[in-house]
């Protein structure tokens, strides 16, 4: 259970904090590990999806007759094969509309039909034979354009929620959120300096290297099996069964190894379609997305438009912070992370007066889904850019300005709760004392920094731990291992039981083996599923002690567990030789049968996380190209279970942020079609773009976890956008308020500034 008293948090460890090899390492370096597209079934068909070429169109008629007649085609499905079983659940209905369009295609790439055929080439031919009669409608892809009163409407029945009174006219604004406390108008009156700026960020994609893949097999009796790459196979099971109208328990989902997700695999895209095709064809069907489909028809993150206004006194105290956050989340309500953007934007400050107003906006783009700390990086980019500008206006070192206004234990956060022990101040101080902070800079170089926040999440986990007669331990978890979490689970179990790490194996069980497990998101797995592993180990430990007590004929309470052994305690201490886990396991068939531990719960107490990043860039004055020359991540991990994988999370998040800041963007033509749906034109950072990414792990224990663990996966993508923008501003003297800061943008910015300087001089 989450511990109330932080002094109960264990701080001395034997296994936790070391760096053992991951249990799935050999499979992954030899090509043996099976990912989504690596499975096949006897008699399997190839599934392919027909997608809308239009950004917005009414689907008047779909004629599949010719495709159905083609030899080798075994099933064709359209909206007609997805009767509405969603029973008034709007989010589920929207998910169903997204996997197979109904009245309208809402974006280029929206699925409108699918075929299953005996070969890929027959499936491709069949798609060409499907005739779709479209009525092309006006479209909108830009968030500010979508909010205008005369914008093309996606839904006639969308009346903005969260506004009182509710508007009578429909719009593309799904909802308005407001967070904050105090009185910002009053706060701005007390300010000596106010900076107000507007920002825009383009949509980016998670860019996982593994495209979505699913192998579905449904029987005529209505039961089904599904193999797929996902961050949450229990979610896939529930959503697919509800869309298809079958009992949840009749669908068994096995998750493959997952080739990256970063939030992008926390929903379904092709899975219900593969199942529907399989049901109709009565054969297994495998559907694998192409990279182009991944870009056009999975779930990138939101594009945004943000206004920030912050006021300070002459001595550097923030008196008020105000922001408006407009997040475009694709065609359906509730998909953009506007709410998280508004909540997280000012979370790193101690503020008397703060307000964040956020809008969830729909547009003709793919339905967005989470991307690592969803909504926070864009908001942080805007806020931390203004903070840097304010510090310069004040003549104060930006680091000192941040330290002075930093949130601390007891601060009422901008989104409501009061903070317990948090690590923000420690990361800022560590940054100030870091050698990177004092290192000299070269020509055309600039240094920037930013601090960022993420909530972290707990959620539902169910864990089973089994001890066979040889005393080895298997822990079954339902959280997909997306980046080494199996190692962390084994380490925590080994720590609890007092046995070597090598004695424990973790496996990811399918949906029939365990109770519901939330998706691997919100940096929850090592925290929440890890805590369930600890509790399951304690449950098993109790049973091990019972067996020892019965063997010795003493009361249960008189037995303790120490270093992998049951020992008589109290009055009986020393009366019997300790029994090892192996000895108790060996005797288990005769002492009451198998020994197992279980734990199922919904975890609270995920500690919030803060990070400070320092970044040096060099800007080429001829080309506008920005090179990252040095980068340091300092983050609070609570307790780093496997420090190498914690560092890996810090580094990976930072580099995704670097891509977002400098190059990555969804580029739309006037026709509403995506122009860069491939890794050549959507350029994620490559090895030669980067330096080593230095890391410093701080450990300010989370009182909500027995070892003090906090989630670490997401926070690292929050500060890079602003840290790089601040560094580019330092290197060029130009502040960029739009992302990405690609070479042509930076070159133009520098040229414009030069021209403005000249005309001023004249």
């Amino acid at each position: 259970m989450p511990l109330d008293n932080p002094t109960n948090v264990k701080r001395k460890f034997d296994v936790v904090g070391s760096r053992p090899n991951r249990p799935d390492g050999i499979d992954k370096v030899t090509g043996r590990a099976k990912f989504g597209a690596d499975a096949s079934a006897p008699g399997q068909l190839v599934g392919r999806i027909l997608r809308s070429p239009h950004a917005h169109a009414r689907i008047k008629k779909i004629d599949t007759s010719k495709a159905e007649k083609l030899a080798g085609v075994k099933a064709v499905v359209t909206r007609a094969d997805f009767p509405d079983h969603t029973d008034g659940d709007n989010a589920l209905y929207d998910t169903m509309c997204n996997v197979m369009a109904r009245e309208k295609a809402f974006y280029e790439g929206h699925a409108v039909a699918a075929v299953a055929a005996t070969s890929a080439s027959i499936a491709r031919q069949a798609l060409k034979l499907i005739k779709v009669d479209y009525e092309v409608l006006p479209h909108v892809t830009d968030v500010d354009e979508a909010m205008k009163p005369n914008a093309p409407l996606l839904h006639d029945d969308m009346f903005t929620d969260g506004v009182d009174p509710k508007p009578k006219k429909p719009s593309n604004i799904a909802r308005r959120f407001e967070f904050g406390h105090g009185d910002v108008e009053e706060g701005f009156k007390q300010a000596d300096i106010i900076v107000e700026r507007s920002f825009k960020t383009e949509a980016t994609h998670q860019g996982y290297i593994e495209p979505h893949a699913a192998l579905a097999s449904m029987s005529p009796d209505g039961s089904g099996e599904l193999w797929c790459c996902t961050q949450g196979h229990y979610m896939v099971r529930d959503v697919c069964s509800r869309i298809l109208g079958i009992d949840i328990s009749r669908l068994r989902v096995t998750q493959s190894e997952i080739g990256g997700g970063f939030g992008g695999k926390t929903t379904v895209f092709i899975e219900p379609v593969a199942l529907a095709l399989s049901r109709k064809a009565n054969r297994p069907v495998k559907v694998v997305m192409s990279r182009e489909e991944v870009f056009k028809a999975s779930g990138p993150t939101a594009s945004t438009s943000i206004d920030i206004k912050i006021g300070v006194t002459k001595d550097g105290l923030i008196t008020a912070a105000d922001g408006t956050f407009r997040y475009q989340g694709g065609p359906f309500q509730g998909c953009s992370p506007a709410e998280f953007g508004g909540m997280s934007a000012f979370a790193q400050f101690h503020l008397e007066n703060v307000r964040a107003v956020a809008y969830d906006v729909v547009a003709n783009r793919p339905k967005t889904i989470s991307y690592r700390a969803p909504g926070a990086p864009m908001a942080n980019f805007a806020v931390e850019s203004v903070i840097e500008e304010l510090a310069h206006k004040l003549g104060m070192a930006p680091i000192d300005f941040r330290i002075k206004n930093a949130a601390r234990e007891g601060t009422k956060s901008s989104y409501g709760p009061v903070y317990g022990p948090i690590g923000l101040g420690a990361t800022l101080e560590a940054a100030k004392n870091h050698p990177h902070f004092k290192a000299p800079l070269g020509a055309h170089q600039g240094r920037g920094m930013a601090a960022g926040f993420w909530f972290n999440f707990g959620g539902q986990s169910c864990v089973s731990l089994n001890i066979p007669i040889d005393g080895s331990v298997t822990v079954s978890v339902g959280s997909p291992d997306i980046g080494g979490s199996r190692a962390a689970m084994c380490m925590m179990v080994a720590e609890e039981l007092g046995i070597p790490y090598e004695q424990v194996r973790a496996i990811i069980a399918d949906t029939s083996a365990l109770g519901y497990n939330d998706v691997t998101d919100g940096s929850r797995t090592t925290f929440a599923t890890g805590m369930a592993c600890i509790m399951a180990a304690r449950d098993a430990m109790k049973k091990l002690c019972q067996r020892a007590a019965a063997t010795w004929g003493i009361p249960e309470e008189a037995v303790t567990w120490e270093n992998g052994h049951a020992k008589p305690a109290g009055a009986n201490a020393g009366n019997f030789a300790p029994l090892s886990l192996k000895e108790i396991a060996q005797a288990s068939p005769g002492t009451g049968g198998p020994i197992a531990g279980h734990h199922e719960y919904s975890a609270d107490g995920a500690g919030v996380s803060f990070a400070t990043h320092i970044c040096d860039v060099e800007v080429d004055k001829e080309t506008g190209a920005t090179k990252i020359v040095r980068y340091t991540v300092i983050q609070d991990a609570g307790k780093a279970v496997h420090p190498a994988y914690v560092e890996g999370q810090f580094q990976g998040g930072a580099v995704q942020g670097i891509g977002w800041a400098l190059n990555e963007a969804y580029i739309y033509g006037k026709d509403g079609r995506l122009q860069n749906a491939g890794f050549l034109d959507y350029r994620i950072p490559v090895c030669s773009d980067l330096p080593m990414i230095d890391t410093q792990i701080l450990e300010i224990p989370n009182p909500g976890h027995p070892y003090g663990v906090r989630g670490v996966g997401e926070t690292s993508i929050v500060p890079p956008l602003a840290a790089i923008a601040n560094a580019v501003a330092a290197a060029t003297g130009v502040r960029f308020t739009e992302l990405p800061m690609s070479p042509p943008v930076v070159l133009k910015g520098m040229d414009d500034a030069k021209a403005a300087g000249k005309s001023k001089a004249a």
């Binding site: 991951r22 370096v29 090509g31 290297i209 890996g648 580094q651 580099v655 090895c687």
Partner: protein, 187 residues
Amino acid sequence: MSGMKVHTKINGDPVEFMCEADESLLDVLRNRLNLTGAKEGCSTGDCGACSVTVDGRLTCSCLVLGVEAEGHDIGTIEGMAEGEALHPLQKKFIEHAALQCGICTPGFLIAAKSLLDKNPDPTETEIRFGLAGNLCRCTGYDKIVRAVQDAAQEMRKTSAKASAKKAAPAKKRVAAAKSRTSQKKRA
């Protein structure tokens, strides 16, 4: 079917397969030969997840047709370890936590081996450019570069030891000859 028969060597073994004219070498490896270690991340040669060697040369197998493999030697990740013994690169990738999800790992290992075969002592910059054709979205490349540096160092040590062993008897002979010469001189 209108397939063509292709004769190759894969990881040292003779392999014959039938394939259609429009199938890539990657399709053949994965779908016909069940060698799923090479991954399809893009099918346009941008991500390197499908990296193999063709006659020792680093190649994106998604950009080669299956029929073009006729008469060539293909190396895949499945052939990298020798029996139970992992290649030093494979070992170092695990030790350095140079993989998170692992989807790009086979491609990186093939590319890194290909780099070290040509250049056993690369600088960090040479490693970074040698691996620039392979995308990894999890690690930020830091630990991958360190794993390759460490593996390269270990491989250099091993080959230095091996050549020292080979050289050792020769040295002894020279020494013996020298001592004989000096004895003669003294005499």
